[in-house]
Every structure is written in C-alpha cells, then in structure tokens.
Symmetry: C2
Subunit: 289 residues, 2 copies
C-alpha cells in the first residue's frame, strides 16, 4: 500500500493538493505585498524591512503600560557647537585626507593608553537610535591574547581565501596585496575589537531593543578613526569573516554582542607600504539640488 492510501482516510490529508495550492498562493501574495523585496537581502541589509519586523514582532498593548528605556530627562537650551576647529571644515578635510589604512605596524613606540581612552570616549559621543549607545570597545594589548586572536583569524582567513571568498572577491583584493597571514594582529601595540550590542537590558533585566545598532556602531567607528588620526595614530578597519563567534568566546562577550570590526592600532612599520589609490573626486560623490 502506498503512503497515499495509508494517509488517504483523513479529509485534511486527502485534500493535501488543494491545501498546498492555497498555501502557495498565500506565500505568493505575501511576496507581492513585500514588493518583491526578497532580493534586497542578497544585496544589502534593508533597515526598513528590519525595523518593520521589529515593530511587528513586538507585543502590543496600551502605550502607557510601556516604560521608556531612556530616562525622562528635562530638555535644555542648546545654542550650537562651541568647540570647533580654527580652520573649520577645510582643516578637518585635510586631516581626514591624511589618514590611510595601514597593514604593517611596529610594536614600539606604544601610543599612551590615555590616547586610546580619549579616542574611545570620542567614539562614544556618536548618535545612536533612541540614544541606546549600543557599543563595546575591547582594547587588547596583552601579548598572549593578541597571539590567540591572530590564531583564530588566520585559521579562518586561510579557509576564507581558499573557499569562502569568490574568485571575483579575491581578484578585487589583489591590488591590496592581502592574504591570510595577518602579522599586524601581533605587531600592532593595540587591537580594538568593536562590538555591536544587538539588543540590551533595562535595569529590571527586561530585553530592550537597540534600533539601528549596526549603523550607530559604524558611525562610532568613523569618529574613532578621526580621533586616532587627530592623535597621529594609524589603524586599519578589518571585518574578519567567520571569526565573530570564536572572538566573542575568547573575550567572554555577553550573548547580545556581535563583532562589528577588528582594528589594529599603532604606528606604521618603518618599511610600511600603502597602495597609491586615488580617492573619488567630489563631483563623483555629490549630487546637488
């Protein structure tokens, strides 16, 4: 006897085809409602969809029942920026344009730890969705930890270059002359691992949403880069593929934190070379109306 005959006695099962058909139509309609937006997950993270999901997944109730995760602070007058640069935007641009990613560091001299602290304090001034401040900066200078981090990253990067990255990707990276060997992870005096807190906790231990956490933490990284440059310190923004979980375990990060970027920080080695790329011109990045 076929499985069909066996299950044929149930009304539900004997009409399986109609049910399947209705389900398919429902799924199709759902896709249409989402405006064929399936492709966007392939090409980039869509915040709108992401946030819609957040909204829809949240339990609803009377608004008054919900406490804000933020304190209800007073609003005070603000008269605009008072601490600026004497040379304004031009001076800032010259400084930003002087920054270059460095892939070869010397172990000495070591930038003062106070400098690193100031740079992280500056990064912590970034705006964030509903003022959630969803960032953690792990500063590693311990030799043993740097070696363990290098071991984790090189092990994964060897597989990345051999299997996980497409041929096109490897070709795109060729002018950068990178490979899976990452000596900067043990040479640089500091490694800053920036974690995004994908959610947080209220004082009462309730889970709290961190809206747009990836954008917020990336903005903080932009400020961190500028602060390091202001102090004359070089860095490199890396996103080591498939290393997040192992690095979280090594650094005993809580479950709500995910690695965003890993940055070696210090001074370039004496024989440091950088690719002589031109930046895009203003007319290629601006649109005026």
């Amino acid at each position: 006897m076929t499985t069909n005959e066996f299950f044929g006695k149930s009304i539900f099962l004997s009409n399986w085809f109609s049910i399947l058909l209705v389900t398919c139509v429902a799924v199709l309609l759902r896709c249409l409602v989402a405006k064929f937006d399936v492709a966007k997950y392939l090409w980039g993270h869509n915040n709108e969809e992401f946030v819609s999901n957040l909204a829809n997944n949240s339990k609803e109730g009377d608004c008054e029942e919900y406490l804000s995760a933020l304190p209800e602070v007073e609003h005070v007058p603000y008269f605009g920026a008072t601490i600026t640069l004497p040379g304004g935007s031009k001076q800032f641009y010259e400084m930003a344009n002087n920054r270059h990613s460095v892939r070869a560091f010397k172990p000495h001299p070591i930038p003062a730890f106070e400098v690193i602290e100031n740079c992280i304090l500056a990064a912590g001034c970034a705006p964030s969705g509903a003022h959630t401040e969803p960032w953690t900066f792990c500063v590693i200078s311990n030799k043993d930890f740097k070696h363990r981090i290098r071991h984790i990253v090189e092990r994964e990067e060897e597989i990345n270059y051999a299997q996980r990255m497409s041929k096109q990707w490897r070709s795109d990276l060729r002018p950068l002359k990178t490979n899976h060997v990452k000596s900067y992870l043990t040479d640089a005096p500091y490694l800053i691992l920036v974690f995004k807190q994908v959610y947080g906790f209220t004082k009462s231990g309730k889970r709290k949403q961190h809206y747009y956490n990836e954008i917020s933490v990336s903005i903080a990284v932009g400020i961190l880069l500028c602060a390091l440059q202001a102090a004359g310190v070089s860095s490199l923004v890396t996103t080591p593929l498939n290393c997040g979980a192992a690095l979280c375990r090594l650094l005993k990060r809580p479950i709500n934190e995910k690695l965003l970027v890993l940055m070696p920080v210090g001074y370039p080695s004496d024989n440091c070379l950088i690719p002589n790329f031109k930046r895009k011109e203003l007319k290629d990045i601006i649109f005026v109306n």
Copy 2:
C-alpha cells in the same frame, strides 16, 4: 472523487508524504548547518552570513580570468599621520563631546556651500571594503524639493507612529519628544541624503560587488558628523522608515542606491531644546585586556 484520488495515479504524487518528509529533513539539516542562525536576521544584520552568500552566489572560474575592480596601483611608502591636532585625542574628544543632535533649525544664516563640500570630501576619505567608496551624498537646498521630501517623510511617519512602530518603540522615543511632524526638513538650510551603493559597475558595465557597503557608508557618516562639528554646523541623523523608495524616485537615484540616512544640516533655532541625556561612562563602554 477527492483531489487525492485524482492525482493518485502518479508515482510521484502518490508518495507525496514521503517526498514532503525528505524535503523537511533536508531543510532542517540546512538550518543545522547554518548553526540555527535564523534568529540573527531578527536581531541584526550578520555580515559573515551576508558575505558568505555573496561568495557562494558568485560564479566561479579561474582566478586569473577575473579582473580586479580596482586598478593595480603601485605601493608607496607611508610614514604615518602628519596632519593631526595640536591637542591630539583630548582636543578631538572635547570637540566630539560638544556635538549634539538638533531637531530645530533656523533657515538663516546658511552655512557656506564650500563648508558642506569640504565636509563631504572628508566623509569621502572613509575606508571602504576593497576601496569601493560606495557612497553618494545628495545635498538639497532647493525649497520645493525640501517641501516634497517633507511631504513624503511626514506621510510615512504618520503611519509609522500609528501602525508600524511598536508601542515599546514609541515609548522608548517618548523622552526625545518626537512625532511625525518634521519641520526641520523645511527649516534646515540643507538636507544631506546619504545613499549606499549596494553594488556598482565596472568601466565595462559589469556589476561589481560592494563588500560591507552599509558599514563603509555609516563610517563615512561618522566622519561627516565630525567635519560638520569642526565647522560649527549642527545636524541630525535620521533614518526615515519606509521612505527610501519614494525618496530615491524623487531624487532620481540609480537602482543600485539605497537611502541610508537623511540629515538636516544648519544652525539650531533660537529656542532649540535638546534632551539632557548623560553619555555612558568610559568604564561602561570599554573592556581592557
């Protein structure tokens, strides 16, 4: 006759249950392989998964067949930062800490357009995945366009506040005293709409991957914020929910561009108030090893 009897003559269909079972097991195994990582799409964009997809979806072949999207430039010596701040990281931190998000702008005075250009040039110095520079900055000062943008945003924000945002989200925003009325969109002398190019095109018109484009463009936004502050100009980072497509159409952006943030830029209005939040302390954002 039931649909079951009708389709029962096919071997394939009469064994539908076994086939369904095998499919389910296959899907389950796929989920196990992905290490139960379904949840991460709810909590945040996972770059590793995203990039793995990119790698796997790319057509493979002999590496030598692939041209790099970047030119094969020479590598030149780099001796580190030469343009810094006299007060180093401390001066930078004080400047960053002086920046506050502003929600009430005055239409005059208008910051010089050159200032905006310098700030965008500085933002364009951000690092990006494989030096793809995946950003476009649309600067809007035209009154009519500002009104049209406000119309689009307020229409959607009214629905966002009424339906799309969860009660918890609205409660979390309560201390910010925001609602769907966005006068800053017509009051501020400039609106800067920052678009991420989720992919690009090579000179020959071939599609080219923009690795980690959202992180890269968000880092550029961080630099833009600092540059504006250096020039004494205030701003607000907003992520208007569900407005991306309409704003892309209005500004005739190409299909590879998605709105990341919309920033009103100018000077605070005379009666501007800001919430008196404290920033997290250093000890709460740093972890040292």
